[in-house]
């Protein structure tokens, strides 16, 4: 009886050790992968959408004042600057 219990305890301990270390590793890895994938989606859409929003604001002002390409060009470059600023901020926050 006692022997049986001892061997069970041993097997349980070894199994726990195995699954525990495995679990920890895989969990950490998968979480990192998911974070990286999510970060990729975030950066990609942020970049494109900020430029598009800049263009649309420029086109809207142009339509209002009938100054066709002037504000479109200004806000296009502001949008590009904003897109890079967004990426810069996101990357800065990564190391926090």
């Amino acid at each position: 009886m006692n022997d049986e219990r001892k061997s069970f305890q041993q097997r349980l301990a070894s199994h726990k050790k195995k699954t525990n270390s495995n679990n920890l590793n895989s969990k950490k890895n998968s979480k990192q992968n998911i974070n990286a994938l999510g970060l990729g989606f975030k950066l990609a859409t942020d970049f494109v959408v900020t430029i598009v929003v800049g263009c649309l604001i420029g086109l809207g002002i142009d339509k209002l004042f009938e100054t066709k390409p002037t504000f479109f060009l200004i806000f296009l470059f502001l949008g590009i600057a904003g897109a890079f600023l967004n990426i810069y901020r996101t990357v800065l926050n990564l190391n926090k």
């Binding site: 998911i34 994938l37 999510g38 989606f41 975030k42 859409t45 942020d46 494109v48 959408v49 900020t50 598009v52 929003v53 800049g54 604001i57 806000f75 502001l78 949008g79 600057a81 904003g82 897109a83 600023l85 967004n86």
Partner: protein
């Protein structure tokens, strides 16, 4: 053969017109009702018999709660916990909506930009109001003019900051909508390959695209989780920005 985009068509199930406004019950609205019903059922069944040694469903409910609570604590801090119901509702609604769309013959309401934009615009408005009520209008406007910047640069920086602030809800909604729509269109296109190749080569040719289709279905399920997660975590980040104006 039906177009791969036919799956996104809105169909009226119960037509209702109130003084020129069409507020019919559509398949999109029905899918949302089903989503909400699934969430309510999940929470209700999971929390019906609370035990110290929990049932499997109770563990699932508790895990999803801890997941969101941990996300909020990491990204906002302890004072963000009062926004937990909001973030958790958002997360579960989008997650179950994405997964519900993976069922055959169902409808993916997250693949419509008007729906995702309505959600993200509401987040944008509420975050802006939180910031204004917490810090006052002047300090909120100071958010667009970072401290320690030369006066000449402000002419350049303020429009840039405003553009990047306005682009937030749009990029939030476009990300979810584009991922879901692209994924489901791809599944339909590859599904069409399976049918055409199998019909023209005595079934054998259909095996390769079918294998692709199975792998892509798995990928779509991962994307469904990932997009709900990204949506929730970005909501947390925006709330964090509103509470701690830098």
């Amino acid at each position: 053969m039906a177009s791969p985009l036919a799956q996104f068509e809105i169909k009226e199930i119960i037509p209702i017109v109130v003084s020129n406004y069409n507020i019919s019950l559509t398949n999109s609205a029905l899918a949302m009702i089903f989503t909400a019903a699934i969430i309510l059922l999940f929470l209700f069944l999971g929390l019906r018999n609370l035990n110290i040694v929990p049932s499997k469903l109770q563990v699932a409910v508790e895990l999803s709660y801890e997941f969101i609570a941990g996300m909020i604590k990491d990204n906002i801090g302890k004072e963000g916990l009062k926004y937990l119901p909001f973030v958790m509702t958002l997360f579960l609604f989008i997650l179950i909506g994405n997964l519900f769309g993976m069922l055959p013959y169902s409808f993916t309401w997250t693949s419509h930009i008007i729906v995702t934009f309505a959600i993200s615009f509401f987040i944008f408005l509420s975050v802006t109001f939180i910031a204004i009520f917490k810090h006052g209008l002047i300090k909120f406007l100071g958010f667009f003019a970072p401290a320690g910047v030369p006066k000449l640069m402000l002419f350049l920086l303020i429009p840039i900051e405003i553009i990047s602030y306005i682009s937030r809800p749009i990029s939030l909604s476009v990300r979810l909508f584009a991922n879901m729509m692209a994924g489901h269109t791809l599944l339909k296109v590859i599904g069409g390959f399976v049918f055409v190749l199998a019909a023209n080569s005595f079934i054998i040719g259909g095996i390769i695209p079918l294998a692709f289709l199975i792998a892509l279905t798995g990928l779509e399920i991962v994307i469904a989780f990932l997009q709900a997660y990204v949506f929730a975590i970005l909501t947390c980040l925006y709330i964090n920005d509103a509470i701690h104006l830098h």
